[in-house]
Amino acid sequence: MNTLLVMAQIAGRRCAIEAPHVDMVIEMGAITPVPRTPDFVSGITAVRSQTLTVIDARLAIGFDPGAFAMDHRAIVATHERSAYAIRVDAIEDICTAVSDPDQVPGGFGEAWARVSSGLVETRVGPALLLNLESLLKAPEPFGAAA
């Protein structure tokens, strides 16, 4: 309750990331591709002399990014001392959660269940609360599936 959330569209769905986990939102500059990495790693980019690993959230969850628009901005989050820039369809707004994360009978579908810790109600409607750790840890299940 009352947590600030960064709202974003990912693969056409409204998702939320807890604001305390987000370092900043940046304008994407040039991305240096990194060969021989999983698809969802778009490359690396530099922001204020810091190197970020660019992750395409749609690919990390298991969707085809070609079917969706892409925001020119990215959400920057740090996980285990590595900084990531997460690319999404669109970054929308900052909202306050009006409920605690909750499960829905029947679940959200396999792809979403892996990266989400539940549904939160916000003033703009329900959104999937993303678990950054599982999103960034995508390699194993994703790699195995591929």
Binding site: P35, R36, A46, R48, S49, T51, L136
Partner: protein, 804 residues
Amino acid sequence: MDDLLADFVAETREMLEASSGEIVAWEADPTDRARLDTIFRFVHTVKGNCGFFDYPRLAALSHAAEDALADCRAGRREPDSKLVTGVLAIIDRIAAMVDAIEADEEFDTGGDEELIAALAEGDDGTDDPSATQAEQPYLSQTDVQDNPEQDKTAHSRSDTAVAQRSIRLPVDLLDRVMSGVSDMVLARNDLAHRLRQAGTQPMIDGPFERLTSILNDVRDAITRMRMQRIETLFAAFPRLVRDLSQTLDKQVTIDLEGGDVELDREMIEMIRDPLIHIIRNSIDHGIEPPSERKAAGKRKTGSLSIAARQAGNTISIVVSDDGRGLCPDKIGKKAVAMGLITEGEREGMALNDILQTIFQPGFSTAETVSNISGRGVGLDVVRQNLERVGGTISVKSTNGIGTLFTLQIPLTLSIITGLNVVASGQRFSIPQSYVEEIIHSSSRVLDFTTVGETGLVTFRGNRVPCLKLSEVLELPSSDLADDDLTMVMLKLANGDLFALAVDDIHSHSDIVVKPLAPAVMQAGIYAGSSLLDDGMPVLLLDITSIAAQSNIVSDLSRRLHAVPEEDEGNEVKDHSRAMLFTDFVGRRRAIRLDLVKRIETVQTSALDRSGITPRVVIDGAILPIIGLPDGPFEREKLRFLRLSDGDSQLAYAIREVVEAAELSGSLTPVNDDPLVEAVTLLGDETISLLDGHELFARYGEMPTESSKPLCRLPQGEWSRTILAPLLTNAGYEVTSEPGIQEDVAIWFDDEYEAAAAIEMDFAAPVVRLRETPEAPENSPTIYRYDREGLLAALNSARHAGGQR
């Protein structure tokens, strides 16, 4: 209270570290009063402190040790090895208790009384075996390696003679400051790039330069902060050697040298285990038992010496013993038995190469496995650990005389020089330390061939595997033909060579290596990332892993077939080999191979065509050129054969190197071209063989090494970072220091006019640079980005200035 306790723990550890070396030295020379005093001070301080903190057991232990030592000081008791062992055991116990205190655990094993008793027993001279029994199992459990906490203190022990002021800092904080400064350097580079784009702005450039120099200072200082004297590592060794030699019934003295060499704190941690392993090996396998030594006519006491030295960016640590040495026969047989090499290979190997097989995985010659070494983790692990940090290890040995291990390690892990290369349009960085040589491969000298799926090149007579970087990275290969790729010859830590074919070489730079996210590291071919001056991130390649993934490491040494040596022999004897090339007019020509010193690739900007004989600057030497076409060149780089008759040199411009060939056909002299000695048949073609004698008689010149023209540059970041490299490439020596007589000077036009206005005396011809592309009326200035114009102006100014 917690702070006080932490201080107590840290202080005790620091003293522990210092005193373990002292105590062994004292044992060797019990009359050494100074050492005795040091140890006494230690136990005394511990006693005092733990009374203050209410640790009765610590107090009792240190009290007992203090009593015994006090007796020695007062001359009531002679220090013997029993006493020393007892005191050491107590110091060990104190260390273990201090660890427990820090971890906030209960230290519950008893046995303090026995330790104290062991001291007292010796007092009345009776040799009670039970006392020795009591301490023996304890001693064998404890050895320095298993007790890393003891050495965790991050502070170098200041020399006892020179008391340096020091403070204690948490290591985390240091790391944070270090990474902060690294970031500052990167931010500065970014800013520098933007400023360069914006053009010269005196208002900003001045302060910016100041910032740069301050930052460099700070970076230096911080780097030194991370540095630690290697003696912090060495301090534990006397004790280790003593314990080992006692357990093994050997007598060994250790000699440490170069303890003041400093290296990166992390690096010290990385080399700790490898060094300990080598020491264990030396004492266990190398140094003989006293009786055997005596029989061999050596001193009863073996000696082990460890010396550290710094040379440039590497530290070499040499561990040598005077033991029985390594036996190449035994090692060779063993290696064959293990299947590491074949019998045939063993016969062909030099003795020294056979010795290096001890670093191969799965090698151990010890006939019996003792609990000191030979426990399965062998020298291969040592080698691997060292290679992980970019180090190397090698061994030399003379049977019966001794063994010498040499470790080479880089000074620091975090800032390295990188060679930036291009593959499929993307830049990557290679640690400069791996780069042996860069070769433009269009010459067929490299003889790029594909055998099966493996590319091979010939480098200095060896067939060397060749990887294409774009293939390694699974990038679409570029449009460049194989012949146009640039070969970077890389030397792995174990001495194996391989070639990495890249599209182009970009630049060298000092890079601050940053770790990458796990998802990227997973690829296993990157060592980190860094930012280039233009703010773009670049990936640092992990050369060792790339070589390992391509399976060219382990069996590389076997595949590195020397092209049969007879070839070289013939070459010298018969003088009948020649290098075939195509000259600029398209003719096939040959020149005797002995005359060809090197094949050089040179930027056209290094050419000076203003004189009658064109000249080229190669490696600082000015050489006359022959064979150059008239008119402009269609390419940026020219290839030359650098010919030498021993004294004089000249550069022969060629279009392409064809191959080296045997002059087997008969030579038919020709008279129509003085430069041609003869024609001969090679395959189905007639080839003109150039007349070396005539060439040198006409054009040969002693290379004028020192006459690299000196060019004075204006002050400033722009001239240092942009102008200086350009001129250096073009063969100029550059300076901006006052008081040196230059050959030509470059001035910014505004500064020049100011100087001219005060009628300053210009010692050398001046080339003036202007800011704008468009020249004002009647202005003899050059636009500062007009490279061709600038070089031409410098050339003509120099010649006008009297051919200095």
